[in-house]
Amino acid sequence: MSIAVRVVMASALFALAACGSSSNDTCTPRVPTDDSVPGTLAEWCQVELANGEVKSLAGDVVPFTLTTPLYSDGAIKRRTVRLPPGSAASYADAGALGFPDGTVFTKSFGFREDARNAALPIRWIETRLEWKAGGVWNFVAYRWNDAGTEAVPIPGGEVVSFSYVDGDGATQAANYLVPSKLQCEQCHSESGPVAPLGPKAHWLNADYAYESGTENQLAHWSRIGILTGAPDPANAPRLPVAADPDAGTVEQRARAYLEANCGFCHNPTGNARNSGLYLWNSITDPIQLGICKRPVAAGPGAGGRPYDIVPGNPDASVVIYRIESTSPASAMPQIGRSVVDTHGVELVRQWISEIPGTCD
């Protein structure tokens, strides 16, 4: 059996920069009415790569961003959504917005060989598709070829090993995971049935620089008719940009970071519900948040540390051990991260160091 891992030197990975493919102005969106998977990304007629960027293939494809995203080995991400013509999502203060059947999300993941140099091309690894059919969300990742001209589905997933230089100039060796279809579902079953994780009011409530000008995303979606029932953005919930020191207190930003990066499993209905450690921003019980809570069934994953969070002592906290680990045995999140998010770790460290009290 051949192992589906290719250890690729950075030079080889980035040598073949994504070249632009010709856009097809006449393509017609093809959205499956079930979980069947079109053989190429182009058949969806939603996004392509052009000049090293993700380009929308139709006017009703809406790019968007999130205030605090999931960290994925430092990948650059581009997100789009398209709803069926004439339809709209229903607003919700909490949880994913209510999207209609036929809604398609894309999320593309890429890297620059040196993240400090914005002039370098982005090497796009994959574009993940999420679409709703018959009331059920479906998932598959499309793997880009080296030329960036074609992406084909890879429902079994793949580990792609390469190195890049991060924004701080450190060389990072990634065992980047293109998730299998069922690994997509593993994280996306936050509250029971699989569903989108990012497009919630509190992550979308921020400005986006559209071609037509900068506008709040909730306001924009309402204005173009793909969202109904949304309040004025000032009255909608918002979680801060964790990476922006001016966006909130350390606690607010750390809690936003933990919800985005841990909360999809660590909540009362998620896959880590058995742990009793819940990291949604809405959780207030200190024990549920991990403060002076012993790890349970973590085995070696606890790193010998006594509590998930020890007030004032990040180095004694299991949470820090797990987000600083790159071993799949102990790293959190369990899938999709093989590089340490140093800035995220620093924020959570700072929050823990400011929590008063002791456990003993």
Binding site: V296, A297, G303
Partner: protein, 449 residues
């Protein structure tokens, strides 16, 4: 070159899909639709077979060794049977694991009714757990082996069903788990039978679970043979109705190599078995032999987790930190408790409990707990925080067959309040020669599909 690999992967994936569609007539195992997998396929193609399998399918894994770098995931697929040729011939090898915390993973959202069968293969060298299943409603793990022959650091759990209902684990072997060989957590309706557990920290653990039968197992050369524990601050607490019967727990003297933060790390090496904070536990017909710290212990959360009266053990009103209604009867105890500190190095978390067990029993004649050359066979920590009388929680031992059988009440609550243990210790067998109300416990129906 990479491009070629991509194409090849696609072709193989397509071939796998084709074979998935073409084998409908080859019926066998649980699901009617049989999908064949063999070791010549790429990992991605095999993972795609798992992704693409229809409900009610059997994924038949031919004999041979499969090398995986990523977890194999079943998500919420219903009624899938993953079936090898035989436990010793179909080998799933994760020694090169790069992604995913465990080997075979199934995480099922609450409220979904998903059944799964794993049978007839072995898992080797996962970086974390061998099989982890969350939220099944019907899970059979049959003739599965889990071990870590080439990894320096072993995964935590061999077979780990959690928050599941109707769980059957039988005729499996787990060797070397750094926490527990077979660990059933927060589940209901459990049968763990006829398994062999060796060189794990704990052989078998039933944790925060309801209605479990543990029988016919051979758990030897672990740190501790079995645990029935109820831990605080978990979504399901109040473990009860657990029967442990007709097992052998022999020579469980392996040095404790559990992560120091884990509960099992506090269990002294040389323990045949222990119950913590559960109610309604029946231990009978077992053979406890050669466990050098103690045959069997019944303890509270204060002894096993946190001695503080205002700490974790009392932080959740739904959680009872005390054991109650424990009936230990008709077991054979041989040669246990002969050297209670032999395997418990000073500085290891397990030393605290081992020291408590041992310091009350200095090996000298006349000390109440040390009789006939060994620690008492059944120990109760004696922590009483409400109730009155000698035995308010019905901790009972009857008709155990060792002629030198002893029951000891450690009165640890006195130790916590400053009274030296060896003054407080008594050996009140009469008061503990009883059967709690409502016993014997009912059998757990064997889960069927």
């Amino acid at each position: 070159m990479k491009h070629l690999f991509s194409r090849l992967g696609c072709l193989l994936a397509a071939a796998a899909l084709a074979s998935a569609c073409g084998d409908d007539n080859n019926n066998g195992g649980g699901g009617g639709n049989v999908v064949n997998v063999d070791p010549s396929m790429t990992e991605s193609a095999i993972s795609n077979v798992f992704s693409s399998a229809a409900a009610d399918s059997t994924i038949q894994m031919a004999a041979g060794t499969y090398h995986f770098t990523n977890s194999l995931n079943l998500a919420t697929k219903n009624n899938i049977t993953v079936k090898g040729a035989a436990k010793d011939t179909t080998i799933l090898d994760w020694s090169g694991q790069l992604a995913g915390a465990d080997g075979l993973v199934q995480s099922i959202a609450p409220g979904q009714t998903v059944k799964t069968i794993f049978q007839d293969f072995s898992i080797r060298d996962t970086i974390g757990d061998g099989i982890k299943v969350t939220g099944a409603n019907g899970l059979h793990v049959v003739r599965v082996g889990v071990s870590w022959p080439t990894r320096a650091t072993h995964g935590g759990y061999g077979i780990y069903p959690v928050q599941s209902k109707s769980v059957l684990v039988e005729n499996c072997t787990v060797d070397g788990a750094s926490d527990t060989g077979i660990y059933v957590g927060q589940s209901d309706g459990i049968v763990v039978r006829n398994n062999v557990l060796t060189n794990n920290v704990a052989g078998i653990e039933i944790e925060n679970s309801f209605n479990a039968d543990v029988t016919g197992n051979d758990s030897h050369d672990n740190t501790v043979g079995f645990l029935v524990f109820d831990l605080p601050n978990l979504p399901q607490v109040g473990g009860h109705n657990v029967r442990v019967y007709n097992n052998t727990f022999t020579d469980n003297n392996h040095p404790n190599f559990g992560d120091p933060s884990g509960t099992v790390a506090r269990v002294p090496a040389g323990t045949g078995g222990a119950v913590m904070a559960n109610s309604k536990v029946e231990i009978f017909g077992n053979t406890f032999s050669g466990n050098t710290t103690a045959g069997f212990a019944v303890i509270s959360c204060f002894t096993g987790v946190d001695p503080s009266p205002s700490g974790e053990c009392t932080s959740n009103a739904q959680y009872s930190p005390l054991p109650g209604n424990i009936w230990v009867h008709d077991n054979t105890f041989t040669n246990n408790g002969t050297d209670p500190l032999a395997h418990n190095a000073m500085g290891h978390p397990s030393f605290d409990l081992a020291g408590l067990l041992a310091t009350g029993f200095p090996p000298g004649p006349g000390d109440p707990g040390w009789l006939d050359g060994h620690v008492a066979d059944v120990l109760w920590d004696g922590v009483v925080i409400f109730g009155s009388g000698v035995n308010p929680y019905s901790i009972c031992a009857q008709n155990n067959t060792d002629p030198t059988f002893h029951f000891a009440n450690l009165h640890l609550v006195s130790v916590f309040s400053g009274t030296p243990l060896n003054e407080a210790l008594t050996n009140d067998q009469t008061e503990f020669n009883c059967m709690p109300q409502g016993f014997p416990l009912p059998a757990v129906p064997v889960p069927t599909f």
